[in-house]
Assembly symmetry: D2
Homo-oligomer: 302 residues x 4
């Protein structure tokens, strides 16, 4: 079938190609003309305006997959697209939007005659070859209509995708997925740091992670990738101890608290990332001055 | 080759069978005569005394794999075995011993002419069919001698096992493996709890875990098993919110602190397990009475 | 001077009395006529309507201290009061409002000719006799105008109160104060729980807390109160292990994350309270089923 | 009465002076001759050998207060002193020893005819003027014998000291005291960091801490000292974000785990200190490389 795709970055570009390989017609737009040109070069239809995007979707309902950064870019894209769309057309938000925004957007568009489907999309840069895990929220009909797209993007037609619930469910589920991901990553990272610190045993972390990939309880895709990375750079040289967070982790923490669910591990994984970006932090300096004040303990000078 | 195996429980019994299927001769002992009889029934040699165990190992160095609970049972087994062993024979501790005990045992046995190899063994009840992940510590020679055994137990002859370092390295690495496992499990459990608590979306956790198994960043063996379990019992009915810990998690926490490594996620995963076993805990009651004392807040009565 | 006071509960009632003892005229309203009658009985002016409240404030600008639960009750009170007020009159929110609501309220009322002052008020049920700690936010002029009120409520005219910054600063500061309070309480509660658990030493917690009150590093008002409570009920009998949270703790956690500040202790203190209210929690049951799935570990049945 | 004192550092020197001011005869020894000379200058008896120390204690049982770093220095001091002591003499360990070492020492000395009393001593550099909080463990008789000493060191004869239980109880209680102290300090430090980070409000932390000292729920000695420190250096300039830990915090964490008590706040306070001393930590670099591996996220270079 035909699908429009807005945003041809790391994720969107690969998704377009996976769809094309499955026989779908992809019409793609990006603000970056190089990305558009690259899409055209692969055999899909790269366009330079939303008008052209819509004009090139000629068969059936128009379904447009938005793959842009969460927040304002999604609202802006929807606002620009809407005048070009017809009743019954489908907006798909495949990015990492907050599910509350998703519900708001759906509830605005639905009465205006548009469908809005949210798709939590996992798989990173490997999705092109391995397929994406798709958590889909929204109304029954448009989700059903789009099923050939989901079958193509997922690792297999009957695996790795599903309609998980009403509008917002897709993004909610993806948010929690990323929260879990934070916790898993932090667990592995701490474990490797402990192994590394045990200097008397002089352990080879690349070897250990490779062993664990086969038969151990912690075997996982994250471990596969980490083992590969450690093979190339076992001492993690040249890297700063600095870890961004992109939003979904903190939303998971907020949501857990709002739901009165205690989630210490996901929360600590987030807090640890915040800590990685604090420089000369006030907290530790305050501790230092308190120790000096009550106990006369020497402070370390900066 | 021939191998003795002491301890024919959930782990040991399966390992014996995997070794037999690979063509090795297994002589096994357990205090439970039923376990011994079961071993014999599968085609291995079940014996009812350590003397018989040793007597049935007739070719090459005697290698005896000890698969008993950590702590005193290992010391007792070694003490009973030692008078029956010859110079050059090999003790293998495949259980979850503390690596410090392992080093102590090795350092006692080595000058007496025995080898002692530590093998951190992961894989749980699935090891028979999928193979075990083996983290091996010890001296070069006995590890090399035992390689046919490791090749048989591991998922493949060249995968999932390795000599990771000097004596104690195997158990140290397995300890950290289990610490990571605690963190991963807790991350998943928290995520599922958040999904469950979002009642307005009425999410199907069995469906979601199945979707995640394919293409997502959190795909892992632990998720495979959890998806299976959720399919059978999505509301986890009949289970108590009670989680034991078997030692390796707390040792990982102690070790991290001794090494001055901050490991909040592994630590919180342990703390959360401790909390699951506290009944009418003093901490929360103390908070309750403090709130009453300063703010006049009502206390909930027990 | 004269002051109106809306909300004569645990906090408001005591504040009214402290103001009266300092020579101020207090006109108080509460939906509960008993609270109003009690106020009148102490020598202040209890009234049964907002109209009467305003009518009884006859000298100078009208200053009305709102001491009601955070959220809608504040908005409703302001909405009802506003038509009764004159240009230049002052609203004071002395409750535990979210500082963002405070800024919103101020920014609505200011252009309409009203002042709005936020006062974070700490001291609990002891404020009548010991005075309240007042963290004041707002514009210069109304804060200055109200200084006789603050001097009377604080422990001393020149101690325990201050204009800490622009609108919202008072409530922001009080929010963080409560976050710290959560952390302190949890630290004490954990410590007492550890002492209690060390059964071999059979420690007397009432005695220990009394010793600590004098000369120790942890001496504090919270400890004074806890020592008193432990004297009466050293085993905390009859109390449930159940701890509510009233909002400011979670706001502190949200704010820390929004500001990219890592605050693990305040956060864990909140999480622990959430945990105290989880019954048969899904997280621990999920851990239990995972342990069973990979390791064959027995689960505890509910 | 007479008392010997070994270790005239920050703590010991002040304790000697407080005892002298109360009318006791203090005979003090330190490896640093300047410390000994200083003691003599204040009117006590400074000596340069343990022999002289013992020789100068002429009335009643000899009671010798050991105020040296925990661990080997205590064992070495006891070993050197023992040949100089008589049956019935009393060793007092007033330092931060691990209570398990204390029990071991007591159990060795008692059958040899010596008493051994453990005193957890809190109060830091302020003890001289404000008195020390003393948590005392040991046998009934020697504790009773030493009561004039405890009355002099404590803030008042009947306040701030007590015999809390059998041998080890004093050090155990002090250990938990310090655990609580870690939690309280961290709670305050986090709170101040959040206030500081809220740049839009431009809060004055010295002013706020001063307000809190009077009437607030968090008022405490630690806050008194912090308010003083913030007055002098509100931006904590010149300080490194680096916080040592001296042992008792980690012992509290170990003990909590051994007792199966969940203590997240005390534990996180320790973990945060460990983190403050990690430079270019492996954990965060591992997270960084994982994010790159699965999501193609850019890494920050060191």
């Amino acid at each position: 079938m035909e699908i429009g795709l807005i945003g041809l970055g790391k994720m969107g570009g690969n998704m377009a190609e996976r769809l094309r390989l499955a026989g779908h017609k992809v019409v793609g737009f990006d603000f970056n003309p190089q990305a558009t040109a690259k899409l055209t070069a692969t055999g899909s239809v790269g366009v330079n305006s939303l008008e052209d995007l819509v004009a090139n979707l000629t068969t059936g309902k128009r379904a447009i997959w938005i793959m842009v950064p969460a927040g304002d870019p999604v609202d802006e894209t929807v606002a620009k697209l809407k005048p070009l769309m017809k009743q019954g057309d489908i907006f798909i938000d495949g990015g990492n939007s907050n599910y509350k925004d998703t519900i708001r957007r759906h509830d605005e568009l639905k009465p205006q005659g548009f469908d809005f489907v949210d798709v939590g999309t996992s798989g990173g840069v490997w999705g092109l070859q391995e397929g994406y895990s798709l958590m889909i929220g929204g109304d029954e009909e448009p989700v059903k209509y789009l099923s050939p797209i989901f079958e193509a993007l997922a690792p297999a037609a009957d695996k790795g995708w599903g309609h998980v619930g009403p509008t917002g469910s897709g993004h909610f589920t993806k948010m929690v997925h990323n929260g879990i991901e934070y916790g898993m990553m932090q667990a592995f990272a701490e474990g490797f740091a402990i192994l590394k610190a045990k200097e008397s045993l002089n352990l080879d972390l690349a070897q250990i992670s490779e062993i664990w990939r086969h038969g151990s309880v912690v075997r996982s895709w994250l471990l596969d990738l980490t083992a590969e990375a450690l093979k190339e750079n076992p001492n993690l040289e040249g890297l700063a101890a600095y870890v961004p967070d992109s939003g979904e982790g903190r939303w998971t923490v907020f949501e857990a608290i709002d739901l009165n669910i205690s989630a210490p591990v996901i929360t600590e994984a987030l807090i640890r990332r915040l800590r990685s970006r604090e420089d000369n932090n006030y907290t530790d300096r305050a501790l230092s001055i308190m120790r000096n004040a009550f106990g006369g303990h020497a402070v370390k000078k900066s």
